[in-house]
Amino acid sequence: MPIPKKIRVLIAKPGLDGHDRGAKVVARALRDAGMEVIYTGLRQTPEDIVEAAIQEDVDAIGLSCLSGAHMTLFPEVVKLLKKRKSGNIVVAGGGIIPEEDVPKLKKAGIKVVFGPGTPLRDIVAFFETAGKGA
Protein backbone atom coordinates (compact mmCIF):
# COMPACT_ATOMS: atom_id res chain seq x y z
CA MET A 1 0.00 0.00 0.00
CA PRO A 2 1.85 3.12 -1.07
CA ILE A 3 0.99 5.75 1.54
CA PRO A 4 1.44 9.23 0.06
CA LYS A 5 4.45 10.95 1.58
CA LYS A 6 3.47 13.42 4.29
CA ILE A 7 4.27 17.03 3.53
CA ARG A 8 6.16 18.66 6.39
CA VAL A 9 6.24 22.44 6.72
CA LEU A 10 8.02 24.68 9.20
CA ILE A 11 6.18 27.89 10.06
CA ALA A 12 8.55 30.38 11.63
CA LYS A 13 8.62 33.92 12.92
CA PRO A 14 12.04 35.47 12.34
CA GLY A 15 13.02 38.61 14.17
CA LEU A 16 11.46 40.63 16.90
CA ASP A 17 7.81 41.14 16.10
CA GLY A 18 5.35 39.44 18.40
CA HIS A 19 2.36 39.08 16.12
CA ASP A 20 1.74 35.48 15.19
CA ARG A 21 -2.00 35.32 14.58
CA GLY A 22 -1.35 35.08 10.83
CA ALA A 23 1.29 32.38 11.27
CA LYS A 24 -1.11 30.39 13.45
CA VAL A 25 -3.97 30.72 10.94
CA VAL A 26 -1.69 29.43 8.18
CA ALA A 27 -0.42 26.59 10.40
CA ARG A 28 -3.98 25.58 11.10
CA ALA A 29 -4.97 25.69 7.42
CA LEU A 30 -2.03 23.50 6.44
CA ARG A 31 -2.92 21.06 9.21
CA ASP A 32 -6.47 20.89 7.91
CA ALA A 33 -5.06 20.15 4.46
CA GLY A 34 -3.35 17.07 5.91
CA MET A 35 0.16 18.41 6.35
CA GLU A 36 2.44 18.14 9.37
CA VAL A 37 3.21 21.64 10.55
CA ILE A 38 6.03 22.45 12.94
CA TYR A 39 5.57 25.83 14.56
CA THR A 40 8.60 27.13 16.41
CA GLY A 41 7.17 30.23 18.05
CA LEU A 42 8.25 33.84 18.24
CA ARG A 43 11.59 35.61 17.96
CA GLN A 44 13.68 33.13 16.04
CA THR A 45 16.98 33.91 14.38
CA PRO A 46 17.60 32.73 10.81
CA GLU A 47 20.12 30.26 12.31
CA ASP A 48 17.43 28.83 14.64
CA ILE A 49 15.04 28.45 11.74
CA VAL A 50 17.51 26.71 9.45
CA GLU A 51 18.66 24.34 12.20
CA ALA A 52 15.04 23.41 12.99
CA ALA A 53 14.26 22.92 9.28
CA ILE A 54 17.17 20.52 8.88
CA GLN A 55 16.45 18.50 12.04
CA GLU A 56 12.77 18.27 11.16
CA ASP A 57 13.56 17.46 7.50
CA VAL A 58 10.83 19.73 6.20
CA ASP A 59 9.89 20.20 2.55
CA ALA A 60 9.20 23.90 2.91
CA ILE A 61 9.44 26.86 5.28
CA GLY A 62 6.84 29.60 5.68
CA LEU A 63 8.34 32.79 7.14
CA SER A 64 6.08 35.39 8.67
CA CYS A 65 7.31 38.88 9.40
CA LEU A 66 5.36 42.00 10.27
CA SER A 67 8.14 44.13 11.63
CA GLY A 68 9.64 45.41 8.39
CA ALA A 69 12.87 43.43 8.75
CA HIS A 70 11.99 40.96 5.99
CA MET A 71 14.64 42.28 3.57
CA THR A 72 17.34 41.29 6.05
CA LEU A 73 15.87 38.15 7.57
CA PHE A 74 14.23 36.30 4.66
CA PRO A 75 17.27 36.24 2.31
CA GLU A 76 19.47 35.24 5.25
CA VAL A 77 17.39 32.08 5.74
CA VAL A 78 17.80 31.13 2.07
CA LYS A 79 21.52 31.82 2.22
CA LEU A 80 22.03 29.67 5.33
CA LEU A 81 19.98 26.82 3.85
CA LYS A 82 22.26 26.74 0.82
CA LYS A 83 25.31 26.82 3.05
CA ARG A 84 23.97 23.78 4.93
CA LYS A 85 23.39 21.78 1.72
CA SER A 86 19.64 22.20 2.12
CA GLY A 87 18.89 24.59 -0.73
CA ASN A 88 16.15 22.22 -1.91
CA ILE A 89 13.90 23.35 0.95
CA VAL A 90 11.37 25.79 -0.52
CA VAL A 91 11.02 29.13 1.27
CA ALA A 92 7.83 31.23 1.21
CA GLY A 93 7.29 34.59 2.87
CA GLY A 94 4.29 36.36 4.28
CA GLY A 95 3.31 39.38 6.34
CA ILE A 96 3.32 43.11 5.82
CA ILE A 97 5.62 43.38 2.84
CA PRO A 98 5.64 46.39 0.50
CA GLU A 99 5.02 45.52 -3.13
CA GLU A 100 8.32 46.96 -4.31
CA ASP A 101 10.19 44.52 -2.07
CA VAL A 102 8.57 41.44 -3.60
CA PRO A 103 10.75 41.22 -6.76
CA LYS A 104 13.88 41.69 -4.67
CA LEU A 105 12.84 38.93 -2.28
CA LYS A 106 12.09 36.62 -5.18
CA LYS A 107 15.49 37.35 -6.63
CA ALA A 108 16.98 36.42 -3.26
CA GLY A 109 15.36 33.00 -3.46
CA ILE A 110 12.01 33.49 -1.72
CA LYS A 111 9.68 31.47 -3.95
CA VAL A 112 6.52 33.43 -3.23
CA VAL A 113 5.28 36.26 -1.02
CA PHE A 114 1.78 36.15 0.45
CA GLY A 115 0.45 39.52 1.51
CA PRO A 116 -2.61 40.33 3.63
CA GLY A 117 -5.85 39.07 2.11
CA THR A 118 -4.31 36.08 0.34
CA PRO A 119 -6.93 33.30 0.27
CA LEU A 120 -5.85 30.36 2.44
CA ARG A 121 -6.52 28.02 -0.45
CA ASP A 122 -3.75 29.68 -2.46
CA ILE A 123 -1.31 29.18 0.41
CA VAL A 124 -2.36 25.55 0.84
CA ALA A 125 -2.01 24.93 -2.91
CA PHE A 126 1.48 26.43 -2.90
CA PHE A 127 2.73 24.18 -0.08
CA GLU A 128 1.09 21.14 -1.63
CA THR A 129 3.05 21.72 -4.83
CA ALA A 130 6.21 22.52 -2.91
CA GLY A 131 5.86 19.32 -0.88
CA LYS A 132 5.41 17.13 -3.89
CA GLY A 133 8.33 18.66 -5.72
CA ALA A 134 10.80 17.90 -2.94
Binding site: M1, I3, K5, K6, R8, A27, R28, L30, R31, D32, A33, G34, M35, E36, V37, I38, Y39, T40, G41, Q44, T45, E47, D48, E51, A52, I54, Q55, E56, D57, R84, K85, S86
Partner: protein
Protein backbone atom coordinates in the same frame (compact mmCIF):
# COMPACT_ATOMS: atom_id res chain seq x y z
CA UNK B 1 12.53 -6.11 0.55
CA UNK B 2 14.62 -6.35 -2.60
CA UNK B 3 12.10 -4.48 -4.77
CA UNK B 4 13.94 -1.26 -5.58
CA UNK B 5 17.49 -2.53 -5.81
CA UNK B 6 17.55 -2.57 -9.59
CA UNK B 7 16.21 0.93 -10.15
CA UNK B 8 18.36 2.54 -7.49
CA UNK B 9 21.58 1.08 -8.81
CA UNK B 10 22.37 4.23 -10.77
CA UNK B 11 22.40 6.44 -7.66
CA UNK B 12 24.87 4.21 -5.80
CA UNK B 13 22.95 3.21 -2.69
CA UNK B 14 21.99 6.46 -0.93
CA UNK B 15 21.07 4.62 2.29
CA UNK B 16 24.62 3.43 2.79
CA UNK B 17 25.86 7.01 2.38
CA UNK B 18 23.31 8.37 4.85
CA UNK B 19 24.19 5.77 7.47
CA UNK B 20 27.90 6.46 7.04
CA UNK B 21 27.22 10.20 7.55
CA UNK B 22 25.02 9.45 10.57
CA UNK B 23 27.78 7.48 12.24
CA UNK B 24 30.15 10.44 12.06
CA UNK B 25 27.54 12.68 13.67
CA UNK B 26 25.87 14.36 10.68
CA UNK B 27 22.51 15.75 11.83
CA UNK B 28 21.17 16.19 8.32
CA UNK B 29 21.69 12.48 7.65
CA UNK B 30 19.93 11.65 10.92
CA UNK B 31 16.94 13.79 9.90
CA UNK B 32 16.76 12.19 6.44
CA UNK B 33 16.94 8.68 7.89
CA UNK B 34 14.17 9.41 10.38
CA UNK B 35 11.95 10.61 7.51
CA UNK B 36 12.72 7.49 5.52
CA UNK B 37 11.60 5.34 8.45
CA UNK B 38 8.59 7.51 9.27
CA UNK B 39 7.35 7.39 5.68
CA UNK B 40 7.93 3.63 5.69
CA UNK B 41 9.96 3.82 2.49
CA UNK B 42 11.21 0.53 1.07
CA UNK B 43 14.78 1.52 2.00
CA UNK B 44 13.85 1.86 5.69
CA UNK B 45 14.37 -1.82 6.47
CA UNK B 46 17.87 -1.75 5.05
CA UNK B 47 18.67 1.51 6.85
CA UNK B 48 17.55 0.13 10.22
CA UNK B 49 19.49 -3.07 9.70
CA UNK B 50 22.63 -1.01 9.15
CA UNK B 51 21.95 1.29 12.11
CA UNK B 52 20.99 -1.30 14.71
CA UNK B 53 24.53 -2.63 15.43
CA UNK B 54 25.60 0.92 16.32
CA UNK B 55 22.93 1.41 18.97
CA UNK B 56 22.58 0.51 22.63
CA UNK B 57 24.71 3.28 24.10
CA UNK B 58 22.08 5.93 24.78
CA UNK B 59 19.96 5.94 27.92
CA UNK B 60 16.35 6.42 26.85
CA UNK B 61 14.02 8.39 29.11
CA UNK B 62 10.31 8.65 28.39
CA UNK B 63 8.16 11.55 29.59
CA UNK B 64 4.43 11.14 29.81
CA UNK B 65 1.50 12.89 31.44
CA UNK B 66 -1.56 14.95 30.55
CA UNK B 67 -1.41 17.76 27.96
CA UNK B 68 -0.13 21.04 29.29
CA UNK B 69 1.56 19.78 32.46
CA UNK B 70 4.92 20.99 31.17
CA UNK B 71 6.62 17.95 29.64
CA UNK B 72 8.30 19.94 26.87
CA UNK B 73 9.37 22.71 29.23
CA UNK B 74 10.84 20.19 31.68
CA UNK B 75 12.72 18.49 28.87
CA UNK B 76 14.03 21.85 27.75
CA UNK B 77 15.37 22.55 31.25
CA UNK B 78 16.93 19.11 31.48
CA UNK B 79 18.55 19.42 28.05
CA UNK B 80 20.13 22.67 29.18
CA UNK B 81 21.39 21.08 32.40
CA UNK B 82 22.87 18.07 30.62
CA UNK B 83 24.40 19.94 27.72
CA UNK B 84 26.02 22.19 30.30
CA UNK B 85 27.72 19.03 31.57
CA UNK B 86 28.93 18.21 28.07
CA UNK B 87 26.33 15.51 27.34
CA UNK B 88 24.76 15.04 23.93
CA UNK B 89 20.98 14.90 24.00
CA UNK B 90 18.40 13.73 21.48
CA UNK B 91 14.71 14.50 21.81
CA UNK B 92 11.78 12.90 20.00
CA UNK B 93 8.56 14.78 20.76
CA UNK B 94 5.26 13.25 19.68
CA UNK B 95 2.05 15.16 19.04
CA UNK B 96 -1.27 13.83 17.73
CA UNK B 97 -2.32 13.49 14.10
CA UNK B 98 -5.83 14.60 13.16
CA UNK B 99 -8.10 11.60 12.70
CA UNK B 100 -10.05 13.63 10.14
CA UNK B 101 -7.43 15.17 7.86
CA UNK B 102 -4.20 13.34 8.69
CA UNK B 103 -2.60 16.69 9.42
CA UNK B 104 -0.89 17.80 12.62
CA UNK B 105 0.45 20.84 14.38
CA UNK B 106 3.68 19.94 16.13
CA UNK B 107 4.32 22.52 18.80
CA UNK B 108 6.71 20.94 21.32
CA UNK B 109 9.66 22.67 19.73
CA UNK B 110 8.38 26.08 20.86
CA UNK B 111 9.22 25.20 24.47
CA UNK B 112 12.63 23.99 23.40
CA UNK B 113 13.50 27.05 21.34
CA UNK B 114 16.50 28.01 23.43
CA UNK B 115 18.24 24.64 23.12
CA UNK B 116 17.60 23.87 19.45
CA UNK B 117 20.79 25.58 18.28
CA UNK B 118 23.07 23.73 20.70
CA UNK B 119 25.50 21.62 18.60
CA UNK B 120 25.09 18.65 20.97
CA UNK B 121 21.30 18.64 20.78
CA UNK B 122 18.95 17.14 18.18
CA UNK B 123 15.19 17.63 18.43
CA UNK B 124 12.67 15.93 16.19
CA UNK B 125 8.90 16.48 16.24
CA UNK B 126 6.77 13.56 15.23
CA UNK B 127 3.06 13.08 14.57
CA UNK B 128 1.32 9.90 15.76
CA UNK B 129 0.00 9.17 12.25
CA UNK B 130 -2.88 7.14 13.62
CA UNK B 131 -0.93 5.05 16.13
CA UNK B 132 -2.57 4.77 19.55
CA UNK B 133 -0.75 4.54 22.86
CA UNK B 134 0.81 7.99 22.95
CA UNK B 135 3.64 7.30 20.51
CA UNK B 136 4.07 7.02 16.74
CA UNK B 137 5.03 3.73 15.13
CA UNK B 138 8.36 5.18 14.10
CA UNK B 139 9.19 6.77 17.46
CA UNK B 140 11.59 4.15 18.72
CA UNK B 141 13.20 3.67 15.34
CA UNK B 142 13.91 7.41 15.46
CA UNK B 143 15.39 6.85 18.92
CA UNK B 144 17.65 4.24 17.34
CA UNK B 145 18.82 6.78 14.78
CA UNK B 146 19.65 9.31 17.51
CA UNK B 147 21.40 6.61 19.53
CA UNK B 148 23.60 5.85 16.51
CA UNK B 149 24.16 9.59 16.03
CA UNK B 150 26.06 9.40 19.31
CA UNK B 151 23.61 10.84 21.81
CA UNK B 152 24.25 10.04 25.48
CA UNK B 153 20.62 10.46 26.38
CA UNK B 154 17.46 10.38 24.30
CA UNK B 155 14.30 11.92 25.73
CA UNK B 156 10.98 10.77 24.31
CA UNK B 157 7.96 12.93 24.93
CA UNK B 158 4.61 11.22 24.43
CA UNK B 159 1.50 13.00 23.27
CA UNK B 160 -0.38 14.52 26.17
CA UNK B 161 -1.51 11.20 27.58
CA UNK B 162 -4.69 10.50 29.45
CA UNK B 163 -5.02 7.55 31.77
CA UNK B 164 -4.09 4.53 29.73
CA UNK B 165 -1.36 5.53 27.28
CA UNK B 166 1.28 3.34 28.83
CA UNK B 167 3.24 2.14 25.82
CA UNK B 168 6.21 4.35 26.67
CA UNK B 169 7.00 2.26 29.76
CA UNK B 170 7.57 -0.83 27.63
CA UNK B 171 10.16 1.00 25.51
CA UNK B 172 12.11 3.48 27.62
CA UNK B 173 14.82 2.61 30.14
CA UNK B 174 13.37 5.15 32.55
CA UNK B 175 9.82 6.46 32.51
CA UNK B 176 8.99 9.83 34.04
CA UNK B 177 5.33 10.54 34.77
CA UNK B 178 4.58 14.25 34.98
CA UNK B 179 1.54 15.58 36.81
CA UNK B 180 0.52 18.98 38.13
CA UNK B 181 -1.38 20.24 41.19
CA UNK B 182 -5.14 20.75 41.31
CA UNK B 183 -6.03 18.04 38.83
CA UNK B 184 -8.10 15.77 41.00
CA UNK B 185 -8.55 14.15 44.37
CA UNK B 186 -6.95 11.11 46.00
CA UNK B 187 -9.09 8.72 43.98
CA UNK B 188 -7.55 10.01 40.74
CA UNK B 189 -4.14 8.87 41.94
CA UNK B 190 -5.52 5.44 42.86
CA UNK B 191 -6.57 4.64 39.33
CA UNK B 192 -4.77 2.05 37.27
CA UNK B 193 -2.83 2.93 34.15
CA UNK B 194 -0.47 5.81 33.70
CA UNK B 195 0.09 6.31 37.42
CA UNK B 196 1.48 2.81 37.73
CA UNK B 197 4.19 3.04 35.11
CA UNK B 198 6.57 5.68 36.41
CA UNK B 199 10.11 5.08 37.58
CA UNK B 200 10.17 8.73 38.58
CA UNK B 201 7.18 10.95 39.36
CA UNK B 202 7.26 14.68 38.91
CA UNK B 203 4.78 17.18 40.23
CA UNK B 204 5.45 20.16 37.98
CA UNK B 205 4.11 23.71 38.32
CA UNK B 206 4.64 23.72 42.08
CA UNK B 207 4.70 27.49 41.70
CA UNK B 208 0.91 27.26 41.41
CA UNK B 209 0.75 26.04 45.01
CA UNK B 210 -1.32 23.20 46.46
CA UNK B 211 1.31 20.63 45.45
CA UNK B 212 1.52 18.99 48.88
CA UNK B 213 -1.75 17.14 48.49
CA UNK B 214 -0.82 15.60 45.15
CA UNK B 215 2.67 14.68 46.35
CA UNK B 216 1.17 13.01 49.43
CA UNK B 217 -1.44 11.16 47.37
CA UNK B 218 1.18 9.92 44.91
CA UNK B 219 3.52 8.77 47.68
CA UNK B 220 0.66 6.94 49.37
CA UNK B 221 -0.10 5.13 46.17
CA UNK B 222 3.35 4.18 44.91
CA UNK B 223 4.94 0.85 45.59
CA UNK B 224 8.50 -0.39 45.33
CA UNK B 225 9.02 -2.55 42.26
CA UNK B 226 12.13 -4.55 41.38
CA UNK B 227 13.89 -3.02 44.37
CA UNK B 228 13.22 0.55 43.29
CA UNK B 229 10.92 2.96 45.06
CA UNK B 230 9.89 5.68 42.60
CA UNK B 231 10.71 9.12 43.98
CA UNK B 232 8.14 11.90 43.81
CA UNK B 233 9.82 15.18 42.89
CA UNK B 234 8.64 18.78 42.84
CA UNK B 235 9.59 20.98 39.94
CA UNK B 236 8.73 24.30 38.37
CA UNK B 237 9.96 24.28 34.78
CA UNK B 238 9.15 27.97 34.57
CA UNK B 239 12.00 28.93 36.91
CA UNK B 240 14.10 25.75 36.96
CA UNK B 241 13.19 24.64 40.47
CA UNK B 242 13.86 20.94 41.09
CA UNK B 243 15.59 20.27 37.77
CA UNK B 244 18.91 19.28 39.36
CA UNK B 245 17.02 16.83 41.59
CA UNK B 246 15.27 15.38 38.56
CA UNK B 247 18.56 14.93 36.71
CA UNK B 248 19.91 13.28 39.84
CA UNK B 249 16.95 10.87 40.02
CA UNK B 250 17.44 9.90 36.37
CA UNK B 251 21.10 9.14 37.06
CA UNK B 252 20.22 7.07 40.14
CA UNK B 253 17.65 5.07 38.22
CA UNK B 254 20.12 4.42 35.40
CA UNK B 255 22.66 3.02 37.84
CA UNK B 256 19.95 0.98 39.54
CA UNK B 257 19.16 -0.59 36.16
CA UNK B 258 22.83 -1.43 35.66
CA UNK B 259 23.45 -2.80 39.15
CA UNK B 260 20.39 -5.04 39.26
CA UNK B 261 20.54 -6.40 35.73
CA UNK B 262 17.21 -4.76 35.09
CA UNK B 263 18.51 -2.93 32.04
CA UNK B 264 19.16 -6.19 30.23
CA UNK B 265 15.73 -7.47 31.25
CA UNK B 266 14.03 -4.36 29.88
CA UNK B 267 16.05 -4.54 26.67
CA UNK B 268 14.97 -8.14 26.15
CA UNK B 269 11.32 -7.34 26.82
CA UNK B 270 11.53 -4.49 24.35
CA UNK B 271 13.17 -6.69 21.72
CA UNK B 272 10.35 -9.22 22.05
CA UNK B 273 7.75 -6.50 21.64
CA UNK B 274 9.47 -5.04 18.63
CA UNK B 275 9.76 -8.35 16.86
CA UNK B 276 6.09 -9.11 17.44
CA UNK B 277 5.08 -5.62 16.41
CA UNK B 278 6.97 -5.86 13.14
CA UNK B 279 5.61 -9.32 12.45
CA UNK B 280 2.14 -7.92 12.99
CA UNK B 281 2.85 -5.08 10.60
CA UNK B 282 4.09 -7.40 7.90
CA UNK B 283 1.10 -9.63 8.37
CA UNK B 284 -1.36 -6.72 8.24
CA UNK B 285 0.29 -5.45 5.10
CA UNK B 286 0.17 -8.85 3.45
CA UNK B 287 -3.49 -9.33 4.30
CA UNK B 288 -4.33 -5.81 3.11
CA UNK B 289 -2.45 -6.30 -0.16
CA UNK B 290 -4.27 -9.54 -0.63
CA UNK B 291 -7.59 -7.87 0.04
CA UNK B 292 -6.82 -5.09 -2.40
CA UNK B 293 -6.50 -7.54 -5.19
CA UNK B 294 -10.00 -8.56 -4.13
CA UNK B 295 -9.18 -12.17 -3.34
CA UNK B 296 -11.20 -13.63 -0.52
CA UNK B 297 -11.48 -10.56 1.65
CA UNK B 298 -14.60 -9.06 0.07
CA UNK B 299 -16.26 -12.43 -0.02
CA UNK B 300 -15.51 -12.97 3.66
CA UNK B 301 -16.89 -9.51 4.49
CA UNK B 302 -20.12 -10.45 2.72
CA UNK B 303 -20.29 -13.68 4.69
CA UNK B 304 -19.83 -11.89 8.02
CA UNK B 305 -22.31 -9.11 7.19
CA UNK B 306 -24.89 -11.73 6.19
CA UNK B 307 -24.28 -13.54 9.50
CA UNK B 308 -23.19 -16.69 7.70
CA UNK B 309 -19.79 -16.49 9.36
CA UNK B 310 -18.41 -14.75 12.46
CA UNK B 311 -15.44 -12.34 12.28
CA UNK B 312 -13.13 -14.66 14.25
CA UNK B 313 -13.56 -17.55 11.86
CA UNK B 314 -13.27 -15.17 8.92
CA UNK B 315 -9.93 -13.92 10.26
CA UNK B 316 -8.64 -17.47 10.57
CA UNK B 317 -9.76 -18.19 7.02
CA UNK B 318 -8.06 -15.01 5.82
CA UNK B 319 -4.73 -16.01 7.36
CA UNK B 320 -4.70 -19.54 5.99
CA UNK B 321 -2.86 -18.75 2.76
CA UNK B 322 -0.30 -16.69 4.72
CA UNK B 323 0.45 -19.60 7.02
CA UNK B 324 0.83 -21.98 4.13
CA UNK B 325 3.10 -19.56 2.29
CA UNK B 326 5.45 -19.19 5.25
CA UNK B 327 5.95 -22.95 5.66
Amino acid sequence: MPSRKGTAAASRDPVQGLVADLLVGDKRAAAKLISLIEDDEPEATDALARIHPHTGRAHVVGFTGPPGVGKSSLINRLVRTYSGRGKKIGVVAVDPTSPYTGGAVLGDRIRMADTGMDPGVFIRSMATRGHAGGLALATFDAVRVLDALGMDLVFVETVGAGQSEVEIATRAHTTVVVEMPMTGDAVQTMKAGILEIGDVYVVNKVDLGAADLLVANLKFQLQARDGWTPPVLRTAAVDGRGIEELADALRKHASHLDQTGLRRKRELARARLEILENAQRLLTRRVAEDSQSGRGFDRLAEEVAARRMDPHSAAKRLLKPVRRASK
